[in-house]
Symmetry: C2
Subunit: 416 residues, 2 copies
């Protein structure tokens, strides 16, 4: 069966440009992974006659139509009503959905107005897709071999509904025996083209799992997607491919899925029971801001000195005047002293420092992108790393912080 899918988003706010159609992007990715071809996206306003004509158009050219939006309680929400009319199928109350809506109001201690009941109306004969993050349920119905799926508009409701129920509906409906499992591997410290070159033969020779690289914000991710009717075997296929890849580029691998370098650093500091403080020049507090963005940061982070001027480096951080005069603020020596000083002043196990030229102008004669990162861990000698980064002021600052986390993770993994 040749499946031709169309995604119809319903909502005047899209046609006014108030929001972007991110739902269509999300669903397109999901459907591509399921192996369903998407041929059209359509956006239509909250207007019954134009929606009707969009549905009739879609019926001519597609055999799976996925709608987003227009399932809410207001009179503008008319997706179900219009589809019901076009298909000649009644709307009926779904008891479970109605109970769930009533429960939602009880839990959030609000009064339920009558129009909310409208959200429990479903197209007769449809399979209900539960809404775990809102009130309006979704639904899917097969009429004469055409599949219609209705999903809510807010991405926070639509995405989990599709992931948890919509995807499975299609797999069952279309008789896909295979479970589809994805795993995202995250890398830092290696460029996208280098990583691709290093594993090109694996990517090329590989169909299950497939391997899709993506670069963003100085990081590279690989998305592995395996299909198999036995979920354990799909997992095993992922494990094997991950191992083959990381045998080559494992030194740059730092975590799975949506994790971040600073999150991995945080976990590792907790695990090792170590505390950290920072002395930041070019990064201006960004490392501290990142690490304190996580709950429970006070267990591992004591504080920092943002020494943006030499005066603060000398007078608060107590870097020796001689060091600044002899080597300059952007130097290995200054970085080392900054890291050691912050560790001592804050009585932390680890001190990390960042000094460099973020641009747009060179700093103390050092070209833009020159960055020194020092890590002081007590008895051992401090480690100092020099970077030559390219890009914007913001890009240089962000990547400096990420490199700092990357080096810390490496060093922490080496100690007891």
């Amino acid at each position: 069966m040749n499946i031709r899918t169309e995604i119809i988003a319903v909502g005047s706010e899209l046609l006014l440009g108030q929001i972007v159609n991110s739902n269509a992007q999300f669903l397109s990715q999901e459907l591509a992974e399921l192996g369903l071809s998407v041929y059209y996206h359509t956006v239509v306003g909250d207007n019954p006659s134009r929606l009707e004509s969009a549905i009739n158009n879609a019926k001519e050219r597609s055999n799976v139509i996925i709608f987003t939006g227009g399932l809410g309680p207001t009179k503008d929400d008319l997706t179900k009503e219009t589809i019901s009319k076009v298909l000649g199928r009644e709307l009926t109350f779904d008891v479970e959905a109605l109970e769930s809506i009533e429960r939602y109001f009880t839990q959030t201690k609000r009064i339920m107005s009558e129009n909310n009941k409208k959200q429990a109306l479903v197209i007769d004969g449809s399979y209900i897709l539960k809404n775990d993050y809102g009130m309006a349920p979704g639904m899917a119905v097969d009429i004469d071999g055409m599949i219609y799926m209705l999903l809510p508009g807010p991405p926070s409701e639509m995405k989990p509904m599709f992931e948890n129920y919509g995807r499975e509906y299609f797999q069952t409906k279309l008789g896909f025996q295979d479970k589809i499992i994805s795993r995202v591997l995250r890398y830092f410290g290696i460029g996208e083209s280098q990583l691709e070159t290093d594993i090109q033969d694996i990517i090329d020779g590989q169909t299950n799992p497939t391997i899709a690289p993506l670069a963003a914000d100085g990081e590279v991710t690989l998305r592995l997607t395996a299909k198999h009717k036995d979920e354990h075997i799909a997992q095993k296929l992922l494990n094997e491919t991950e191992k083959r890849i990381n045998d080559r580029v494992g030194e740059f691998f730092y975590g799975y899925e949506q994790t971040t370098l600073v999150h991995e650093l945080n976990k590792l500091l907790m695990k090792k029971g170590k505390t950290i403080s920072a002395a930041e020049s070019l990064t201006g507090g960004m490392f501290s801001e990142y690490i304190t963005s996580l709950d429970g940061a006070s267990q591992i982070f004591k504080g920092s000195i943002v020494s943006y001027t030499n005066e603060v480096k000398e007078q608060i951080l107590k870097v020796q005047k001689r060091t600044l005069e002899q080597f300059g603020a952007v130097s290995e020596e200054c970085a080392r002293e900054m890291a050691e000083q912050i560790r001592k002043l804050s009585k932390s196990d680890i001190g990390i420092s960042f000094t460099g030229a973020a641009g747009p102008q060179p700093h103390e004669g050092q070209p833009v992108g020159t960055v020194f990162i020092a890590i002081s861990m007590g008895d051992q000698n401090s480690n100092v790393f020099k970077l030559n980064l390219a890009g914007s002021r913001k890009g240089i600052r962000v990547r400096s912080v990420k490199y700092g986390c990357h080096y810390l993770v490496k060093l922490l993994n080496e100690i007891e």
Copy 2:
């Protein structure tokens, strides 16, 4: 004439979910401002027969069709060719466009391959829209009262092309004599619903300029859009409405267009020749990071102490042990001492401090969202502000920093 506009994006990468259709959002906003109604968005892949059917569909229901994408040099780029076929209009070489493409290669010192010439082909009789940021020109053509506009896919080329040439084409073509001028007013410290309530009668009674409120990240913006054939009068209409609005809510107004609170603070510190330093607890370095994100920050920002633990507050920031014991770290007294200490230690004109409970747990018995911000400006008494913020950990931190900038701007505006 009732204008029904449709935007057709051409590109398989959209149907695979690799990119989001931000072009449709941008154009929808622009067209709404021009007063053109958008009835449909369509996305179709790089497939001539499906594009052909999308064009035929659009011809039935719309009288302005704007295409994005498919104007490039590769064989996948087939928008012009398909439209040419559907409309029965030849493609001809545009001499100026060809010269411009050749110039582009000369300037970027690259060799021009033959297929690049294809980009200079235009639909016979069209008005050329210059591409100032790429090679493929856009075009617009009126055939039997239907307007077809073709724009490139990359937003970096499409947006300036529409802003600089496309908009004017429509204004001239549709006989709009009016210049359309927008102005964005930015507010902080007032909620969207409060601001709307305060000026509801102005919004309701107002058609030129129109007033559109929008809330995001704890800020509210008002977009005023005036139309008049005389640009000076349009500006005057904007000035008058701005004055009427700010007579009521001016205390919350902080700037125009894309500016930020920290940017306004930075400008003001430069203008007044003042330096600043910060003592940050709950914000963890975010204020420092924001202020150092701007070029030239070292002229006004000396540094900061991120005192995430009481130990650092005492030992580096030199807050008295007694203050912490008697009042706690989340207190007016502690905030005041933090601000005064950082000002003295860093020898800055101004010290600002942030202490509070960002969550998810209460801090020292203070409920999540309790925040104290103190500003010390030397001889004067310090100002301390108490906030009770709601929202996520991140939201509380971001809004604390914004409130800090907001208070600083107010205080700086009061001094010489």
